[in-house]
């Protein structure tokens, strides 16, 4: 019985047994599906298998990359009309713009609407961040033709989410390409480079540039308007990449910055240094307090309340924190009581931690509870299963997404590989953060340089109010450094870091994106 022998050999070799591998092996048993509450996965059709043994190890590199791709055709019913589209899942060889030297074999999944004229059809490259995160979050959660229905905000720990048609897909306005960074998904460096060669702010952005140039050439899309869409660290990558693409003459028409960390020097939580102001977090605390009914007086309109908190952060709290950090001023009791009313955190909390970090806020707002970092509306008992890794809002979605990406690739997109899909790698341990002469990256100069080269470049910044990882107002403060710009638009809605997981937020962001795509290649 060969499958059993393979099973036991695998178990001895690697513990724990990856869930995806188990699922694959169990599918190989055949017959008798349907147990476990879910519907049986559809049978795997014979066809494409990439036999390359991809690896996410720091020193791994490919000797013989392949550009093999699994192509499938699909239909999506939307508001009475049907979109026919093609999905392509596979690899392209990113070769350095200029020298032509092969750098890395990047894994991607592209969804393209059938029967469109390439020159007029926008093309958007999506990626998550980490660094070290595969792009499965945007791929499965946001604007692809199909998405996972997560029901966020929710505290239910489930093993899987249903995959549904996506009424908010961007497929009607742009083709979508989800790209995985080197050492994530199934992307790997090409010899003599190793994965680690691309684990730095600059080398990572450049290999994305090289991938985009290759995708355009391989698919005859050089004339298409193009957009890069990054989330979190991916937004910083998008800004650095924008300058790389413009300078290289590849060209770019739009940048979407979702829940961005544009300057690692300005976010008070990532370095936990005493000298960095947390004023950018205050409006997110206010939104969170309003959600839990702890803001006083209770706001009638949460949007107006958040805007008011932004003004308060600029005019009152920000200057007071700056003076507190500089040692030139102490907070007065009036300000403390106003902060307490706005944020729901007690005056005692504000007195003991005037430059209030999100970690402290998340632990102290609700007794015995830990608020989510990615979505503060999702709270769990401080010693319970939701809080075990420090963020209830990520714990509720993480495992089902990992399961779903493996199922999507093998079962829907006909892409099978002998290697696992790496949803999260340890690239971050090795990352070279240095950029433009600073220890930690600040991508606002990159954005300014991209806008200098291309004054028509459109930038859309999207944030969720309840995101306590990359707070909406810190993004606004970072972008404010650019000065007034007719092509830069800021849009924020209720919701967390992965704002799109909330149905209402995704609808609102889809509307803003529709407007953004209409303005591509127009004069400001």
């Amino acid at each position: 019985m060969p499958p059993l022998r393979f099973f036991l050999a695998t178990l001895r070799r690697s513990r724990p047994l990856p869930a995806a591998l188990l699922a694959l092996l169990c599918a190989a048993c055949g017959g008798g599906g349907g147990e476990g509450g879910g519907t049986a996965p559809p049978p795997i059709s014979p066809g494409f298998t990439d036999t390359t043994a991809y690896s996410a190890a720091p020193e791994a590199s490919l000797a013989t990359p392949t550009e093999a791709t699994a192509v499938t055709r699909h239909q999506l019913g939307l508001e009475g009309r049907t979109l026919a589209y093609t999905a392509a899942a596979g690899h392209l060889t990113a070769a350095q713009v200029g020298s032509g030297t092969p750098q890395a074999s990047l894994f991607y999944v592209a969804y393209t609407l059938d029967g469109q004229a390439a020159a007029a059809r926008p093309l958007t490259f999506f990626f998550n961040g980490g660094p070290g995160s595969a792009s499965m979050w945007l791929h499965l959660g946001s604007f692809a033709p199909r998405r996972l229905a997560t029901g966020m905000p929710s505290t239910a720990l489930v093993s899987r989410f249903p995959l549904v048609d996506n009424a908010e897909t961007l497929l009607d306005v742009t083709d979508l390409v989800f790209v995985d960074a080197v050492g994530t998904g199934q992307s790997q460096a090409i010899a003599p480079a190793t994965n680690r060669s691309f684990w730095g702010v600059d080398s990572d952005a450049r290999v994305f540039r090289d991938f985009i140039a290759r995708y355009l050439a391989a698919n005859g899309r050089q004339a298409s308007p193009r957009v890069v869409f990054g989330e979190s660290y991916g937004a910083l990558r998008a800004a650095v990449l924008a300058e790389e693409l413009e300078a290289a003459g590849v060209g770019l028409d739009g940048v979407v910055l979702l829940s961005s960390v544009l300057d690692y020097n300005s976010n008070c939580a990532v370095t936990a240094q005493a000298g960095i102001s947390c004023a950018g977090y205050l409006p997110s605390y206010a939104a969170t307090a309003a959600h839990f009914g702890l803001a006083s007086p209770a706001p009638a309109n949460v949007g107006a309340f958040v805007l008011n908190a932004m003004s308060f952060a600029d005019q009152r709290y920000g200057p007071a924190v700056a003076a507190f950090i500089a040692g030139t001023g102490q907070p007065d009791t009036t300000l403390i009581s106003e902060l307490s009313a706005l944020s729901g955190a007690s005056a005692t909390t504000w007195h003991s931690a005037f430059n209030l970090r999100p970690g402290t806020y998340r632990e102290s707002l609700l007794p015995g509870q830990l608020l989510g970092r990615y979505d503060a509306r999702i709270a769990g008992a401080a010693n319970g299963p939701l809080a075990r890794d420090g963020d209830p809002s990520l714990t509720v979605v993480n495992a089902p997404f990992v399961t779903a990406i493996n199922e999507l690739l093998a079962q829907q997109l006909n892409y099978r590989s002998s290697a696992p899909y790496v949803s999260f790698s340890n690239a971050i341990e090795h990352w070279q953060w240095r950029h433009d002469g600073r220890n930690l990256p600040d991508a606002i100069p990159d954005l300014a340089a991209a806008l200098l080269l291309n004054p028509r470049l459109r930038v859309l910044s999207l944030n969720g109010w309840h995101d306590l990882a990359t707070p909406v107002h810190q993004t606004a403060l970072d972008l404010r450094r650019l000065g007034p710009r007719p092509t830069v638009t800021v849009h924020h809605v209720a919701g967390g870091h992965m704002t799109y997981l909330d149905d209402a937020s995704r609808r609102a962001q889809r509307a803003a994106l529709g407007e953004f795509y209409r303005t591509l290649r127009t004069a400001p």
Partner: protein, 116 residues
């Protein structure tokens, strides 16, 4: 024992193992996160306004100087193309107002300052 039932037992064992206190680094190190050794901001204020614009231009100047390997202070179209500075190669004729076949950084700067 059938293959299928063995599978179910293993799946149960796997999910029990996951529920135990196995730390999930994808959650613990979720973006944005810095490893402790990297938590060293330089403490300098991030530039805005004219200082930011100067920095943006400096980025381009560094690219220009890297492409100008011999250090002549000028670039030809093919030098720019070979160095990956495709923007300069593509806009070369408009940047090269003097039609000399070589452009200086000052010519590039003037081109960027014009309304386009």
């Amino acid at each position: 024992m059938t293959c299928r039932s063995l599978c179910m037992i293993l799946a149960a064992a796997l999910s029990a193992g996951t529920a135990a206190a196995q730390p999930d680094l994808a959650v613990q190190r979720a973006d944005p996160w810095l490893p402790p050794h990297a938590r060293v901001p330089d403490g300098r204020p991030s530039p805005a306004g004219p200082a930011l614009q100067a920095l943006a231009l400096d980025k381009l100047r560094r690219r220009f100087e890297a492409a100008d390997a011999p250090g002549f202070g000028t670039l030809s179209r093919s030098q720019a193309q070979g160095a990956g500075l495709g923007f300069v190669a593509e806009h070369f004729d408009r940047i090269d107002a003097a039609r000399s076949g070589h452009i200086s950084f000052e010519e590039l700067r003037r081109y960027l300052a014009r309304p386009r």
